[in-house]
């Protein structure tokens, strides 16, 4: 009922506006069209300058109420460069914005039709043309130089001491893989993917049909879903891929992103500055999380494709990784030294979603925690 009411009101409003518009046309004819036109011209001229003033106030007001909601300080060292560049670019474009918009509306107001004015016949002026070709070209060159310097840092090689994590997108979630003790990722092939225990298609068994030999480097790879763990202050290099369609690893707090493309691995690296716990106090938001947002349309669940990054202190990280079981044991529980002797009907060591069960607090006996430290 209320919808019909709203529609009725809207229709009525339309009719009223139309009647006013029509009436003003008749009035104009009565008053003399030339006079009416000049009158309208004055109104529009005034509106031009009013729009400028209100618009600039609006820009200021908008900034005041929204600036607090735009992300605070960058959470990565590389992101600081993005923020710095944002500020420089904002300053340059902001100045141009204000000058050109003020001139546009000021000229429109100032030079509105008047019987006294004689139009200045001014078809061209080469000096002026040259000035406003050269000045923007120089300013833009400076911006290009700053930008490219940063670009080559962002896309350049990651530092040698980087932690390496493989990120794989799928509809609609993220799978993370750590190289394990040998610090080497085992081979994977998409035809080996088995959603029940081999989400990434690791080549960990011989397969005559596919002409594959088991890669021992896969045996200690650690795989988990949804949450990625990294170390504060230590660069992390992501090797990004996708299992199905194109996704994108969007890291808003770190100011970076990179597409996840099936068949073509991409990389991205950054250095986290604050642990998740520190960010919770910094932002004053106890629910704060570093979220990975998918930034490339990937299907109907695109908006829900969230990953979490836990930034930990170094010791916390090693405590965590020490608790992780290689993914291999999920598929081959009989190989798991901690599960021996296998008891039929015992604790199931593989869950359908993620084989490396994080909840089981079983410490890998062989090796111990600190030996997992990457070289």
């Amino acid at each position: 009922m209320s919808t019909f009411f709203i529609i009725a009101v809207l229709v009525l409003l339309f009719v009223v506006i139309f009647q006013i518009a029509k009436a003003s046309e008749y009035v104009a004819i009565l008053k003399g069209e030339e006079k009416a036109r000049k009158h309208d011209n004055k109104i529009n001229g005034f509106l031009m300058i009013a729009f400028l003033v209100l618009g600039l106030i609006g820009v200021y007001y908008c900034h005041e109420i929204l600036k607090g909601r735009v992300l605070s300080e960058s959470a990565s060292i590389e992101g600081e460069k993005v923020d710095e560049m944002l500020n420089i670019t904002l300053a340059v474009t902001g100045i141009v914005f204000i000058i050109t918009q003020v001139l546009l509306f000021w000229f429109a107001y100032k030079y509105q039709e008047s019987e006294k004015r004689k139009v200045f016949f001014f078809p061209h002026n080469n000096t002026m043309e040259v000035v406003w070709t050269v000045v923007p070209a120089i300013v833009l060159s400076i911006l290009v130089v700053i930008g490219l310097r940063n670009w080559f840092i962002f896309t350049g090689d990651a530092p040698k001491e980087s932690l390496i994590v493989e990120v794989t997108g799928r509809q609609f979630g993220w799978i993370f893989r750590y190289p394990g003790k040998d610090n080497q990722f085992g081979k994977r092939y998409f035809r080996n993917i088995d959603p029940s225990n081999n989400n990434l298609g690791l080549v960990w068994a011989d397969n005559k049909e596919l002409n594959q030999k088991a890669d021992p480097a896969t045996f200690d790879d650690i795989v988990n879903d949804n949450t990625m763990y990294v170390i504060k202050g230590r660069p992390v290099k992501l090797i990004i891929g996708s299992r199905d369609v194109i996704h994108d690893v969007g890291l808003v707090h770190f100011r970076l992103k990179m597409d996840a493309v099936p068949g073509i691995p991409t990389t991205l690296w950054f250095t986290p500055k604050y642990t998740t716990a520190e960010m919770k106090t910094k932002t004053g938001n106890s629910n704060f999380q570093y979220e990975i947002s998918c930034n490339q349309m990937c299907g109907n669940g695109h908006y829900s494709m969230k990953g979490i990054i836990e930034v930990l202190e170094e010791d916390e990280y090693y405590a965590w990784i020490a608790k992780q079981k290689p993914y291999y044991y999920g598929a081959f529980p009989e190989k798991d030294p901690s599960a021996a002797p296998p008891t039929p009907g015992g604790v199931p060591s593989s869950s359908p979603d993620s084989a490396a069960s994080i909840t089981t607090a079983s410490v890998i006996q062989a090796g111990g925690g600190q030996n997992n430290k990457l070289k």
Partner: protein
């Protein structure tokens, strides 16, 4: 209300052609039936109107779609039973489903870019103005011109039909990146809906090529006596470059689509490799590259945004000069910058792909070339500003929209400098920042160019005026509304809020903009309603508007105002007038304006 009075006195421009043909349907001999006149017409003016009306129909549909998805963005947790009544299973329980949300976003983008701002804008004004302003009786090939419209029409009908298939229309974003667009198993919208989308787009490319070749041939070959290239109005230059861009880049898009059709239907692997689909398993395809598609798509996709904005630039230059009663400043620089933009537009496509996995070194060239485009754009803006300076400005509705165009072009263009710099794009890519950027610089500016053209040439199209009061309301609400909608989106983008999200409530990083999204949606609905006011004005004035009684109501120098008020097929009843000067002699030698058809007086200095 009284544009009539501007040039009530017989204008110089009226000296050519006869006055008696005002009501006759032209002095032509061939017999016209309803079908040949209004449907399968070969008259460029009628074809232009067909493009315009079809484009407007799609603009309403595309705008309505945006209203629907804005409702979802503003009220993600509320139900509106009316939506289910209107949309059926698209809005089960009164809430737009994720599937239909993505379909709405995708089709909104596709139709706005291609059907409204390409066909509706350059289709309308290239067709209408090229023969009239170069002094030709019609296009080089009126028949091809007619085909161009009917291919477009068929393409539009197929796109429309895709809204009604069971699995829904295509829903993978207007850029249609594979593998999502190639595999029906990854999204229901990529099933039949995508087939129809591809067929529709292929026909659209055909339409663009037929039209574009015609525009180029007409501009190059059919100019009247004395109309050298440097005497052409800037509108024609803009349409010419637009057509060249289209002819060179649309075939590349088609090739990309053909490969996609093969991947979808014939088992090839141009774009597919290493794919495992949930619930289906590993696919046989290996060795393809999804990035190849992106290169092919953006090789059109980037020139496409200039295909949209160049006609607007041309129209604005012409309308602004006429209503400032002052020549356009830097005519040659305006042509030069159009040319520079046209060339550069082919060399910047990969700036859409900075984070796609493109080689970063290659990316750096695209940064340089992209930021270079800002130079010709800056030249144009400064030239427009100087055109206003010391003019005698008449705020006709067309002029208001031209000023609005420049304002939008500045606001949206400047953020292009942010996004074109890859090191910033790496943060801003695919966020609301880019939405704000391209809607201001291409969407709103493009549609403002279109409105400027419609208001300015309406008297020539229909022999009547539109209601000025409605036009003023339309302009000021749309202008303020466009800023209110898109300006705050920059902040959402700076906060990294991704585009194409159905619901942000589960995201700790993005949910702080809830109230802002409500505000934006409400303004969007108001702005949409005001566009309906324009539509009403347009169709009402066609029948009831004040009649045009003088040949040259705006006091314009160009040739279209030397035709009868209601020109028939063939445009000029007698000889086509000869041209003696450039198109911008306003305020020269103490005269208000001197028409292009006026011979150069003794001792007069000329520009071109």
């Amino acid at each position: 209300m009284s544009n009539e009075q501007i040039h009530a006195a017989p204008a110089q421009g009226a000296s050519h052609g006869s006055h008696d043909h005002g009501h006759a349907e032209g002095g032509h001999h061939h017999h016209e039936t309803f079908i040949t006149k209004y449907i399968f017409s070969q008259d460029h003016k009628m074809i232009a109107k067909q493009f315009l009306v079809t484009g407007m129909a799609w603009a309403v549909l595309g705008g309505l779609m945006s209203v629907l998805f804005r409702i979802q963005l503003a009220y993600p947790d509320q139900n509106f039973p009316i939506l289910e009544t209107l949309l059926g299973h698209w809005a089960k329980g009164g809430k737009i489903t994720a599937e239909s949300y993505y379909a709405l976003v995708t089709i909104h983008g596709t139709v706005m870019v291609f059907f409204v701002l390409t066909a509706g804008l350059s289709g309308t004004f290239s067709n209408f103005l090229i023969p009239l302003q170069v002094g030709a009786r019609d296009m080089a090939s009126p028949f091809m011109n007619m085909l161009s419209y009917w291919f477009f029409f068929t393409s539009a009908i197929i796109m429309l039909s895709s809204l009604f298939v069971e699995t829904g229309p295509f829903s993978g974003g207007w850029t249609a990146y594979p593998p999502l667009s190639a595999l029906g198993s990854t999204s229901p919208g990529s099933k039949t809906g995508m087939d129809l989308w591809l067929i529709s787009m292929a026909l659209f490319v055909v339409s663009q090529l037929l039209g574009g070749l015609n525009y180029i041939a007409t501009v190059l070959n059919m100019r009247t006596k004395g109309m050298s290239m440097t005497r052409l109005p800037l509108t024609i230059w803009a349409f010419f470059f637009t057509a060249v861009l289209g002819v060179l880049s649309f075939p590349v898009l088609l090739s990309g689509f053909i490969l996609l059709i093969f991947d979808r239907n014939f088992g090839t692997s141009f774009y597919l490799s290493d794919i495992f689909v949930n619930g289906i398993g590993a696919l046989p395809n290996e060795g393809g590259s999804p990035i190849l598609y992106q290169h092919l798509f953006w090789f059109l996709g980037h020139p496409e945004v200039y295909i949209i904005i160049l006609p607007g630039m041309g129209i604005v230059s012409e309308v602004m000069s006429t209503n400032s009663r002052k020549p356009i400043f830097g005519y040659m620089a305006m042509i030069g910058s159009l040319f520079a933009i046209a060339i550069l537009s082919f060399l910047v496509w990969a700036h859409h792909m900075f984070v796609s996995g493109l080689n970063p070194f290659l990316g750096s060239f695209f940064v340089l070339l992209t930021l270079l485009i800002a130079v010709p754009s800056a030249i144009k803006v400064f030239n427009w500003l100087t055109t206003l300076w010391r003019g005698n400005i008449r705020f006709t509705p067309g002029m208001l929209y031209s000023i609005g165009f420049v304002s939008m072009f500045i606001s949206g263009g400047l953020t292009g400098i942010w996004l074109g710099n890859s090191a910033l794009d790496i943060h801003l890519h695919d966020t609301y920042f880019i939405i704000a950027h391209f809607h201001l610089v291409m969407g709103v500016a493009g549609i403002f160019g279109m409105y400027a053209g419609i208001y300015h040439w309406y008297p020539k199209m229909f022999g009547r005026y539109m209601n000025n009061t409605l036009a003023y309301i339309h302009f000021w609400v749309t202008f303020a509304g466009a800023y209110l909608i898109f300006w705050p989106m920059h902040y959402e983008g700076l906060a990294g809020m991704p585009r194409r999200y159905y619901d942000y409530t589960n995201w700790e990083s993005f949910k702080m903009f809830e109230g802002l999204n409500v505000f934006i949606s409400i303004v969007a609905i108001i702005v949409f309603a005001v566009q309906l006011l324009f539509l009403f004005n347009f169709f009402y004035s066609m029948y009831k508007g004040r009649k045009v009684t003088s040949q040259n109501p705006w006091g314009s120098t160009t040739l279209e105002w030397t035709t009868p008020i209601n020109p028939g097929h063939g445009n000029w009843p007698g000889e086509i007038p000869e041209v003696h000067r450039w198109a911008y002699d306003y305020g020269k030698d103490g005269k208000d304006f001197i028409a292009q058809t006026t011979p150069v007086g003794a001792g007069e200095t000329t520009n071109h």
